[in-house]
């Protein structure tokens, strides 16, 4: 599985703080990094690592070309849509707070995210960095004072 680049470790010398230590490797039995607990590191890196391990253990890399992964994303977005399609728009948020719908929604959203993370891994895209750049660009494109309270129209 290779390195655990996000592992927090206390470096020699006792300095406080977290450093990246690329020499730490995954545990052979679990595929997880040592000392792992998810809130301590990057969520997207965690999911990327988990999806890569899941795929590798099943020899499924052969199926994960971009167009196939895209169709998988579409499939999961479709399942998510089916959960909401007939709910009244104004009640949908409240209705989705209650189980079993809440759990089902969380599952389908997770599937979308996991395939998206997997596609980013296959393509070598840093999803967090790209998303930060995108929202910053959107912030400049849609100046708050000019668009406040008005939905941007798509043509």
């Amino acid at each position: 599985m290779g390195a655990c680049p996000w592992v927090a470790t206390k470096p020699a010398g006792g300095l406080s703080g977290r450093v990246l230590n690329s020499s730490r490797t995954t545990d052979l039995a679990t595929g997880m990094c040592p000392g792992w607990h998810s809130r301590d590191v990057s969520d997207l890196e965690d999911l990327r690592h988990r999806m890569r391990a899941f795929t590798n253990e099943r020899d499924w890399e052969q199926f994960h070309d971009p167009k196939s992964l895209l169709l998988a994303i579409v499939g999961e977005v479709g399942e998510l849509s089916e959960l909401f399609q007939w709910l009244p728009a104004t009640d949908a948020s409240d209705l989705a707070q209650e189980d079993p719908l809440k759990s089902r929604v969380a599952e389908e959203m997770s599937d979308v995210l996991l395939y998206l993370v997997r596609l980013a891994d296959v393509l070598g895209i840093d999803l967090h960095a790209a998303a930060v750049a995108k929202i910053e660009a959107a912030g400049e494109r849609f100046a708050a004072d000019e668009v406040r309270g008005t939905a941007p129209a798509k043509h």
Copy 2:
């Protein structure tokens, strides 16, 4: 903008390590939390915060009901699909390594992620925890020794 729940700070008493300190607030000028650098915290929390701030500054919460956000996700998945639709399946991954396609793909994937994160925020779903639970469930459902090299069929 409110609190920066993920901010790493040195608590009174000088103990090392990171603690959550909900009293720290965002910088008024940048909307960012003090001492912020993205690799130090949860990516998904970061994006959730950014999208919430972006939405709030524009008074766009009124548009962000679940069905509308879902259609926005569909729109972005559609834009992503258009980038890949006519590429030969076997070359798609290589072709997407080169600009301008690489940048466009990263942008559209970012849009999908950002709206997904926003929907999770509206619905009160912890996307990382849900995704970890989902991949662990998938790991049990698809035992590696039974499915190795075989794509699971959907019927």
Copy 3:
């Protein structure tokens, strides 16, 4: 159920040919128009009528606002995508010629079409006329001599 606007009838005076006669009404037992056989009339009108009757008999018009129908379309496109996602791109067409996959594909494509026809009915759009106009516009936009053998790029 109302009128059968597409019914072919021999008008008074005995002229040959088909005319539209909006006074003919559906058969109460079957919901179908008298003398109906599908290849004699417009397919899309037929489906529009059937979906309208299906919806009306169940009092489901209340659920068929545009955004809900759109999410239903997305759901069915998702189910269709799941049937193809892991198939090798070059074999997909051949594999989809064999049952049970062939029947499943036909079912999901039908669902997409039926919801699309229903959305067009709700919005008062003549889907056939619009599609003819669109393909004619595409024919002008993409001059055959200029684009032959080259997929149009989307940016």
Copy 4:
């Protein structure tokens, strides 16, 4: 372009009615079948023929494998979604009655239909027959007396 299998012609012997005559061919200048007027024949057959001709003239069959066409459908559903995403659910139908939105919606719905028809052609699926079978099956599955006024839940 080839034959016009749907052309209505008066067969030798003078019997009234319409017959299929596969020897009639398209007009070289227009690509249309002689005596064509759309309401006289099957809409879906008409669109299938037009899309086949459009594709053939551009030598684009090479791009129209099922997974690519599916992504094209997804792209167009995405464009359609973007037109509706921020509209209030209860006003969407009225707002879509007015130009320029009405025309844009008709265009995007047409694109979805055209790619769907093209996919059916590639796969050898009779979309009208399949859709009729599907809605009849749905009629049996969802007995009107049992589901009246209640949206079927998806789980």
